[in-house]
Symmetry: C2
Subunit: 489 residues, 2 copies
């Protein structure tokens, strides 16, 4: 810890959201800027959040028999060119290696922006029979995309992600897989991030380069903009054809299988910071927080007794639940004042805090567990037994988890509005932002015009949306569905 | 699994070691070749070994308060140039990005060959006081080095590794850290890989580019060549100076701290394959093996009973030890003959195998646990109780672990020879290879001549080697130490 960081360094969230966000990311030591424009260093505290995501998601996918693997980050440009739509979509974002081992390369090599092409190349060698299907792979890795506007976590030139890649005999199976991944993401946002999301289908123009269907997870940020927070694609069968991935079915007929891909990146952590945080800094949802509780002793007289008592509490909690071992910290170092430590614990978004002074030791004051979120009431521990303190800590973590989710859900729900006509649409987008439900004829020209005039893009059509009878908000021709629009973050 | 792979595809190890190695790596589906020369795909089975390494090593370093982080893979070339020896060492191996986002870059960017430079750049921003020290970081990532001769696992253009980076107030602390890391590697080789290694100090010419001391872990391969299997460096304080990493000590005096770095890569898995494997394929040491035991039912009459019985054994083992959940497999799929499955389990190096047929079900034959390593005796299970079967499996895994270590240790010990003169040295290097202990005057010219004439390089001087009085094997001038020489793999 470093004394130089103090509360006053943070711009209030309500005053300047963008500045507040950068203040929190930098001062809570989640991340820092790398030397190449748009790159980001994930500092240990920030990286520990990504490790939580890895642990959580690995246990989900391994239950479904998805296997982790690692494919080279170096892809010959000719491989990307095998899929026309794919290279068209990605070519403006590529980082190209032209020199290797001191010599100009015969063929340019691209640092992976995503791994479909190299994975299909390998699958074409590994798959020959229906017995080899399905193949379900996942990889945790870095990818490079040359972004124009960058922002820590949200859009960085290099980022970390997981990319799942599967390939199936039937299109139904592929669809099931893509939808299952979508559900995994929604569950992850709810269980680990305490965040509600919207899920649905992307429009033709907003699809992934080379996908036949893109499913999306969308979050609402505090500034009323939408963030694409994870995606899952059914890829065009073309991909299999272009890369020569084929198999013999049970009757010996040569067929092309159906691929899916799906990804969640470090971007998602940006939405956690943005949505939950407050003027005092980060607020980490309890399931994601690497430190769940911090014990801060009040130093002065009776230091020895205060230390002993503080240690005992830490030990009680670790005994109560092995999950607390490593996630309960005692800040007894002489590296800052009591007040500074309290501020630091708030800045870092540690869910719970117990302060211990001579009065707590002497039993003159009850031991108080304070939640990082002011709306979650403090709890007093009278008995200081293993059971009492353990149960209260557990209860408060659950309460905070629920509170954060409900607060974000309320904000999301309050910011989904229906526009009956284009005037209303423009007014809402001007004044409130958020999501707007509106009929759209699904003609890309209307979509483009709406974007040009309001900055709003189609975000999704909810899964299983029923056909309705309406008129396009822009051109007034017949429209079957209420689409969700929002400005993109 | 794929029926196409069968025993006959493997070249015998004794017949052609290099070809056998590639056969095993490819057919056991550990890895495959990527499209860019020298790159490698880590297939799920191979990657699962690396996940074991990550789990093991993370728990070791986290106990020592080393924190994982992630630094960008994109490094401006000017940053590498800040350290003259470093750029000299690495420039022949660099992959250089010259185009980003469709435009020629103003400054060339290098894909990290290692991360010292970018980490010190960041530390110069993060460190200001003695209170900030030590910093102990680790990162799991890919690195790219343009290798001329490549071989799966051993030397690949891109590889995965962990790179630890620490920085300390005193050179003593830095030395302690570098030695601690060395011990971690030696322990990992022994505990996880069942492999003995030699540890010691590298000569001046064999040091890491920019290190003041390089400690090394050396393995002996079956072909008598040595493999540098992990390294740990104390870096020149110059590194701190050149990157502006400084701190104020307790008296307020500006000082430069002492850095260390240490790394273990996927190369290490290559030595596991090479040393333990046999004519039937891979032999995975039990602690590293993702599948520890496979149950193979004999199909025919009474299939239902055989299946039920096989499942019961799997459940018993999972009940006995939760560590067996996920590491005991039942191969009851109709995807190959009994014989093919047995061969496949051998090819994959699964430590233990139980075959179940009608006789075992009826109690006419005892249940036999067979070890992948022929020298470890089979065990018969008579009672088939939870306790009996669990204990026998455990015991056999321990026996195999010990057997593999001892076998490799014997091979290592038998192949460390002392050469009294240069003739003897040349004879040994010609006939036996292996390690040769010989007096060397520590003059790089003698070292270079020996390499030129015998292909042998200095591998290490053992830690704490006592001063002796001898004469250089090459020039006959005074020499204080017996160095270890070997040909490099």
């Amino acid at each position: 810890m470093d004394k130089a960081y103090s509360k006053k360094l943070l711009t209030p969230k309500s005053q300047d959201f963008s500045k507040w966000y950068l203040d929190v990311v930098l001062n809570a030591k989640l991340a820092d800027y790398g030397p190449v424009r748009g790159t980001m260093v994930l500092r240990p505290y920030g990286y520990s959040l990504w490790e939580k995501v890895q642990d959580y998601f690995n246990s989900v996918i391994k239950k479904d028999e998805v296997k982790n693997a690692y494919f080279p980050s170096l892809i010959p440009i000719s491989l990307l060119r095998k899929e026309k739509k794919h290279i068209e979509g990605f070519s403006p974002e590529l980082a190209v290696i032209t020199i290797g081992g001191g010599e100009k390369l015969e063929e340019e090599i691209v640092v992976r922006p995503t791994s479909e092409t190299i994975i299909y190349l390998m699958l074409s060698k590994w798959i020959s029979s229906w017995r080899d299907l399905p193949v379900k792979l996942n990889q945790w890795c870095n990818v490079v995309r040359w972004e124009k506007r960058t922002l820590p976590f949200l859009r960085t030139t290099e980022f970390l992600w997981q990319e799942g890649h599967t390939i199936h005999e039937t299109s139904e199976e592929a669809k099931e897989m893509a939808l299952r991944a979508l559900t995994w993401y929604k569950d992850l946002y709810k269980s680990l991030y305490s965040l509600p999301v919207l899920i649905g289908v992307k429009s033709e123009s907003e699809k992934f380069a080379g996908a036949s269907v893109t499913y999306t997870v969308e979050s609402l940020l505090p500034d009323g903009k939408a963030l694409q927070s994870a995606t899952s694609h059914i890829l065009e069968q073309n991909f299999a054809k272009n890369f020569g991935v084929s198999y013999q079915d049970k009757e010996g007929v040569l067929k092309y299988p159906y691929p899916t891909s799906w990804g969640l990146s470090t971007r998602s952590l940006g939405s956690v910071v943005m949505i939950h945080g407050d003027d005092n800094g980060l607020i980490l949802p309890p399931k994601l927080a690497p430190i769940k509780l911090v014990i801060i002793p009040v130093l002065g007289k009776d230091d020895e007794k205060v230390f002993t008592f503080s240690k005992k509490i830490k030990e009680l909690l670790e005994k109560y639940d092995s999950a607390f071992a490593g996630s309960v910290e005692l800040w007894d170092q002489d590296n800052g004042s009591f007040g500074w430590k309290v501020n630091e614990s708030e800045l870092m978004g540690i869910p719970l805090r117990i302060t211990v002074g001579p009065k707590e030791v002497a039993g003159e004051s009850p031991l108080t567990i304070t939640c990082r979120v002011k709306d979650v009431e403090s709890e007093e521990v009278s008995q200081k037994t293993l059971k009492e303190i353990g149960e209260k800590v557990e209860k408060m973590l659950e309460k905070e988890h629920a509170f954060l989710y409900e607060k974000a859900e309320k904000h999301l729900e309050e910011n989904i509005r229906t526009a009956k006509n284009y005037e209303e649409f423009k007014n809402i987008m001007n004044k409130n932002k958020g999501f707007i439900k509106a009929f759209w004829c699904e003609n890309p020209q209307c979509e483009a015009k709406i974007k040009e005039e309001t900055k709003a893009t189609t975000r999704l059509l909810p899964l299983g949306a029923k056909e309705e009878s309406g008129h396009c908000i822009y051109c007034n021709s017949k429209a079957k569905h209420l689409w969700y629009f929002a400005q993109s973050s």
